[in-house]
Subunit: 64 residues, 6 copies
């Protein structure tokens, strides 16, 4: 999935994040580029480059 | 259980997910196909291919 | 405790589950048979065979 | 602390549990005997022998 | 930081705890002495000797 | 990212923390200097030197 866009549901306040998957490590920590916060199908806020902590990820889906 | 349909309760907003179990790794991370979000016995939303993070799984049940 | 009935409190929506302990692994993941969801001392719902994720277990008690 | 009474705060619904510490493993999973649920300094309910999952423990205090 | 006073934010009901750091292990479990529960800058309750579970710590700050 | 300012979203009460990243260990525990609590784009409170527990981090972003 490296290089493709994914949607990630996290625990915490920014539940849904969509971005381009740049890299993944052994703990499923994700580095995403061009990340946007998403709610109800709308793009709320651009976050840019983010690191998501693997153990607080709920689910990961490819974005078509 | 690989290849059969399972119901998974997760922490977070999409509590119940039903899908076909494609693979499992050592951390109980699940790759499911043809996944649907379920609530009160109804299918809410089709999610397709998803990866569920093992440490945020509450329970797993086979679907008959 | 293998083969005996136990009561398990989980994080998440199905807080109390009672079942027959079929097996346990190193991560305290539990496989239970004939599992029922319990609330206020009453049996709410039969779940059958379930796998409970070890790190989301709060406590385990034997059922007399 | 083995053999002495301790008070344990857990995540989840039964926040405070007091009991005699029977054993501890490497993951800080605790086996307690004669366990009682405590709230506002009062003993609510006797639970007997319980296993508490280490990663869902918030804090442990000796009971004088 | 061993021997100095620290402020620790935990998940769960006793969010802020201040005490003297007695020891730390590899999992960041903390043993603190002379611990007090703190809220809104006030000392609520003396807890004495406590063990804090590392994975439920949010943050640690030195107290000047 | 060592030496640069980052924004960290945590689980718990102090959701957003901005500071200079001093060091990171294998568990993604972060030591930050000159840390401030942030809400709605405003700086709420200066916390100084803090250690953030890696498994309770939701996401990390560089601050431009």
């Amino acid at each position: 999935m490296i290089g493709s866009r994914i949607l990630v549901e996290m625990k915490g306040d920014n539940h849904l994040l969509e971005g381009e998957l740049e890299s993944v490590d052994d703990y499923l920590n994700l580095h995403m580029l061009d990340t946007v916060e998403v709610a109800d199908g709308e793009r709320l806020r651009a976050l840019g480059s983010v690191v998501l902590r693997g153990n607080n990820i709920i689910l990961i889906m490819p974005v078509e």
